[in-house]
């Protein structure tokens, strides 16, 4: 009985912990959105920080990322094409490749890419700033950290994931066309028909929404995880670990949700 009670208690504690984390996250997001809507936020200084964040999150890794997207797309397209030919389903190969790559795999991989590179860095940076009391110092100097540290990171994340996923999708579309029809315009009409069939308004809006959510998840969660860090230096790695786990779960949850909305 004692054991049972203990189990229930620990479960309750966990649930309360998750709720706290979720609440903290959404409260933070709400504050960020309020700030975003405030015209006073949009001065030259904020804009510069946003540009810096976009540069570090997207532009700096553009060539690496596009190369990576190219290789992954080429692999997947080749696998789909050869399998489709083997089973005599070539007419579905184009649609299959586009759906798998542009709608599902590439946005997901982009989010993971940004999470690994920028998300972990943001988490560490925020945790260190908090441990070193830098955030309080900034506040003291009338430099609100939300406006100059956190909001630009969120915007940078969303813009980066949306843009990079789109660019990777375009690369994959081009590659799919070249793989299927080669260097000729012969298949353009059929390809256009397939593209028209796949990308209706709902799908495009859903894709944009999904990418934006991915971008938010890979920046918002690390920032809140960093802010939760107790003021002890050895807690920084633990904070990063927790933050990255949450990011991973959030990405999977968003992907599952989008699939459920699309196909159920």
């Amino acid at each position: 009985m004692n054991f049972f009670a203990a189990t229930l208690e620990s479960l309750g504690a966990k649930l309360v912990g998750w709720f706290d984390v979720g609440y903290g996250m959404f409260a933070f997001l709400a504050r960020a959105l309020m700030l975003l809507l405030d015209p006073a936020t949009w001065n030259r200084a904020t804009f510069d920080v946003v540009i810096k964040q976009v540069y570090f999150t997207a532009v700096q890794i553009l060539h690496v990322f596009l190369g990576y997207a190219l290789v992954i797309s080429w692999l997947i397209i080749t696998i789909i094409l050869s399998t489709a030919r083997e089973f005599g389903l070539t007419e579905f190969a184009t649609e299959m490749a586009i759906r798998v790559l542009v709608l599902e795999l590439l946005p997901f991989l982009t989010a993971l890419f940004i999470a690994l590179r920028s998300g972990s860095a943001i988490n560490t940076e925020v945790a260190l700033m908090r441990v070193n009391n830098e955030l309080d110092a900034l506040d003291h100097c009338k430099v609100p950290p939300m406006q100059f540290e956190f909001l630009p990171r969120l915007i940078g994340g969303v813009v980066s994931v949306v843009t990079l996923a789109t660019l990777a999708g375009l690369v994959a579309l081009l590659l799919a066309y070249l793989s299927i029809y080669g260097m000729s315009m012969a298949g353009f009409e059929a390809f256009t028909r397939t593209v028209a069939k796949i990308f209706d308004f709902r799908i495009v809006a859903g894709l944009a929404m999904k990418c934006a959510l991915f971008g938010l998840a890979v920046t918002l969660i690390p920032v809140t995880a960093g802010l939760e860090t107790p003021k002890k230096l050895f807690m920084v790695p633990v904070s990063v670990l927790r933050g990255m786990m949450r990011v991973f779960f959030a990405i999977v949850a968003i992907e599952v949700m989008s699939l459920a909305l699309k196909y159920i």
């Binding site: 030259r44 200084a45 804009f47 510069d48 920080v49 540009i51 810096k52 976009v54 540069y55 997207a58 532009v59 553009l62 900034l138 430099v143 100059f148 540290e149 843009t163 789109t166 660019l167 375009l170 059929a190 256009t192 028909r193 593209v195 028209a196 069939k197 990308f199 209706d200 495009v204």
Partner: protein, 320 residues
Amino acid sequence: MNAVKSNPFHFKVGLFAAASLLLIGLFLVYLLHARGFFEHTYRLKLAAASADGVAPGVPLVFSGIEIGRVASLGLNDNGGIVINVELLERNARWLKQNSSFTLDKPFVGGAKIRVDTPDLKAPPLPDNSTMLLLSADISKEIPVLVDRVKTILDNIDHLTRKDGELNATLANVKTLTGNMTGEYGMLEGVLGSPEKARAVTDSLDKTRALLSKLDGLALKMDGMAVKADTWLFSQDGVATQTRASLQQIRALLDDAQSSLKKADAMMTNAVAISADVREGTQDIARLRAEIDEAVRRANALVNEINKKWPFARDPEVKLP
């Protein structure tokens, strides 16, 4: 953390943003073009007897390529089904006034409306026109198909029944091939029984024996002719006559011999080479005729000799 202004920094982000926006914009324009946003939407009404299997989204297919979709369907004032199909202007050129529209409901996969245009030079179908939708429902053809298959199966049953034609034929073929594998091979197969086949071979053997006998006879007669020459005195008496007769006999003998040789060759041919039953039969018939002919000639010869010198005891040659 004040923003540090640095030109290459801004330039790169600006370039990235501009290029991305340009690409996204181009893609959106391409997408709008692909979905026919810049085109007039062509509408077509299809009148059908039944809307069974038709739903919004069912494709309109021309030569296996989707050119449009069912937008909506409903009933008109007379209770008839009206199916509204929408397609892009560029795809509407495949629709002509002589086009036929068929509702295809395959076993596997969804229903589709098939467009068949026999003449692409026919005048185009105007916008908003109403056409008739035919139904090619495979499931309705199944009972007919089953009936036909049943008839075929009945026929097969009739053919293969226990006392049926097929069984009798097979039994005949079995007997024939059984005979062919007997001692006398194909000859037995053709003639029907080993006894008859043996009779043919026996007669051949006898003919051979007869031939050798006749050969011997001829030699004897040669000798007798010489003796007669010496015995008979007169120059143009019996002897001359006899010589003439003898020459005649030799010619007859030669004839008989060649006939028999021919028969022999024919026999070899029939047994060893000819695999075709019909050809074999013809050969056998000819062989039989040849043998008969040879025997007849031999008989005639013996009779002739008998007339001149009545020394032969058994002038008759019997054909078995």
